[in-house]
């Protein structure tokens, strides 16, 4: 029997493309698995339409990278009984049953937490941290969770956080760069630049490099460990990033989906941990 698996992704960025690639790679191992992968361009309505179509075509399982985790009930309803594996964006635990539904991913909060832990270590002995924060698109869950993660971790570690600048750069390198440049123009002093993803971190770094700022003293931290970000970590320009294991998430998601399609027992959760990446371990990734 050939197993058809539908995939719907929240949008396209470097990470999600890697995740998609991982799913496709993993599927190649099975001659009888066909994957149909779509992206929803951050439109909840479009994602539901994609699930509708997968259900119409009677696929054997669906992998969903939710745009908004609250839409999970509707998504499950639209799937009409087809096993649904959620990946990377975590829905409420109550809808996960480990039979028809499961979650594979990392905890967004953890990515922020790891940034926080790194910075807590970096600033050991200091009392106050004056921070610059570039957030992803407002209203998205990963933006919220990553931000919450890093702030709470630092606060728990006893630091007093002082906001110098906090705004969204919408995951966009160019926007972050422009904002950073203008911020630097004001001459305001800060200790750290926290970014919700690597692209924005790289933008901030470009702006800071232009002013020959010491990136060793003022750490810039990102999330995702994209190739250019790893390069920057190697050069010592980016203090740290967080590796989100797209490959593992994709492979586990496909594995879960296939098992569920075959009626096998699966776990409720397939955790793929985040991993902090610094100059010490960057070569591993």
């Amino acid at each position: 029997k050939t197993y058809h698996i539908g995939v719907t992704l929240y949008d396209r960025d470097q990470f999600i493309s890697s995740l998609e690639q991982a799913i496709l790679e993993a599927a190649k191992k099975y001659p009888n698995v066909v994957v149909d992968s779509q992206d929803a361009k951050q439109d909840v309505n479009q994602q539901m339409a994609q699930v509708d179509v997968f259900a119409t075509k009677k696929y054997d399982a669906i992998i969903v990278n939710l745009i908004n985790t609250d839409t999970v009930e509707t998504i499950i309803q639209r799937a009409r009984g087809i096993p649904t594996i959620f990946v990377n964006r975590r829905p409420r635990d109550t809808v996960i049953d480990g039979v028809k539904t499961a979650y594979v991913g990392s905890q967004e909060y953890d990515a922020g937490r790891m940034q926080g832990e790194f910075l807590a270590n970096f600033f050991k002995g200091k009392k106050e941290i004056r921070y610059v924060l570039f957030m992803g698109q407002l209203g998205l869950e990963n933006t919220n969770e990553r931000t919450r993660g890093v702030k709470e971790t630092l606060e728990k570690a006893g630091f007093k956080l002082t906001k110098v600048y906090e705004d969204t750069a919408e995951w966009d390198r160019w926007k972050a760069m422009n904002q950073m440049q203008q911020l630097l123009g004001t001459g305001k002093q800060f200790d750290v630049v926290i970014c919700n993803n690597d692209e924005m971190a790289l933008g901030a770094i470009e702006a800071m490099k232009a002013l020959k700022m010491d990136l060793k003293k003022i750490p810039v931290v990102g999330i995702d460990a994209t190739p250019p970000a790893k390069e920057a970590v190697k050069k010592g320009e980016m203090a740290m990033t967080v590796f989100q294991n797209a490959k593992a998430q994709g492979a586990v998601a496909l594995d879960f989906a296939l098992k569920a399609a075959q009626g096998q027992k699966i776990e409720k959760f397939g955790w793929v941990p985040f991993e902090p990446v610094t100059i010490d371990n960057v070569d591993k990734y």
């Binding site: 309505n45 479009q46 539901m48 509708d52 908004n68 609250d70 933006t143």
Partner: protein
């Protein structure tokens, strides 16, 4: 000869519907799953939100304006309505001490928000001379800002089932959202064709000076036009929120472009005075069926965009041949 002329007249007049029918026939052959009741209902469900938006925005376009704020009104309505029907048990309620309100209150609050934004748009356009593009761009940005402020950018989850039923329930096989869409379309049709207000919308769009000279109160009508657009956007916002089971401040992002595109594909002209409800519905269905068809055929998402672009342009070229400069 005359016969032939009649045929070509017919084709010209109903070109956009012919495109739609050809698409339906082609897809039925290409994908067996396409022509199933369930699939067609799914298309309607998916398009109901955009459809209602397009109908509303068409009022603005016919009057020779535009409404960029509809996407933001969806967002604003979404968070306002959702925050009034959260499960009382949910700890992160926006209004923690709110008593249990009947869902109708949430619906009305949402509609009021849309009407208010629409009224503001209308007033700006009517009583200052600023172009509709700017007035509604401004309120688009402002409304989105309010939606974010209200929720601190967090989603508003855990809606009560009485509210969610609007988006998820159905009457027999036909989902409520589709019923609402059909009703809105019928009302829009009646307004545009059988009421004074409707005729005034066309007149204002066709030649505002002539309309004014003929005693039409242009300003009052503009208020009405943008309120219709705002209220339609709110209705769409409520339906989508109820379906998504969550109030989301980013929900309507970029919907305005989709809605304007659907209306335009359906023959609504940005030069004013031209546009019909059946045309708009055809425009919406063309977009919806295209989307659905490309998904059913399992075409790669990148290629989908290219094909989509080509078919949209092709459909309108076919529809507009009649206006092309005659040889």
């Amino acid at each position: 000869m005359a016969q032939q002329n009649k045929v070509s007249n017919f084709i010209n007049k109903y070109a956009i519907f012919i495109v739609l029918i050809v698409m339906i026939i082609a897809l039925s052959f290409l994908s067996p799953a396409f022509l199933t009741v369930q699939n067609l209902i799914n298309v309607l469900i998916t398009e109901s939100g955009r459809g209602i938006l397009a109908l509303g925005v068409a009022f603005a376009i016919i009057s020779r304006g535009i409404d960029l704020s509809v996407g933001s009104i969806v967002s604003l309505t979404s968070v306002i309505a959702a925050s009034l029907v959260q499960e009382p048990s949910y700890s992160a309620r926006i209004f923690p001490n709110l008593p249990l309100l009947p869902p109708i209150v949430a619906v009305l609050a949402g509609l009021a928000a849309g009407a208010l934004v629409g009224l503001t748009n209308g007033a700006l356009i009517a009583y200052t001379a600023i172009p509709p593009f700017i007035a509604t761009l401004g309120s688009m940005i402002i409304a989105r800002g309010f939606a974010l402020i209200l929720t601190n950018a967090y989603p508003v989850p855990m809606l009560r089932p009485e509210f969610k039923i609007i988006g998820q329930g159905s009457l027999g096989p036909i989902p409520y959202v589709v019923i609402v869409f059909v009703i809105v379309a019928i009302i829009a049709y009646i307004i545009l064709n059988y009421t004074k207000f409707g005729k005034h919308v066309y007149a204002i769009g066709g030649n505002v000076n002539a309309a004014r000279t003929s005693g039409i109160k242009v300003e009052k009508n503009l208020l009405g036009i943008y309120m219709v657009s705002g209220i339609c956007a709110s209705i769409a916002g409520i339906l989508i929120t109820a379906r998504a089971a969550s109030g989301i401040a980013t929900l309507g992002n970029n919907y305005e472009l989709d809605a304007i595109a659907a209306a335009t594909i359906g023959g609504t002209s940005h030069t004013g005075g031209i546009g019909t409800v059946p045309g708009i519905i055809a425009g919406i269905l063309i977009l919806g069926i295209l989307n659905n068809g490309l998904l059913l055929l399992g075409i790669s998402p990148y290629l989908q965009q290219v094909i989509k672009g080509i078919i949209i342009v092709g459909a309108v070229v076919f529809d507009m041949r009649k206006n092309a400069r005659q040889k």
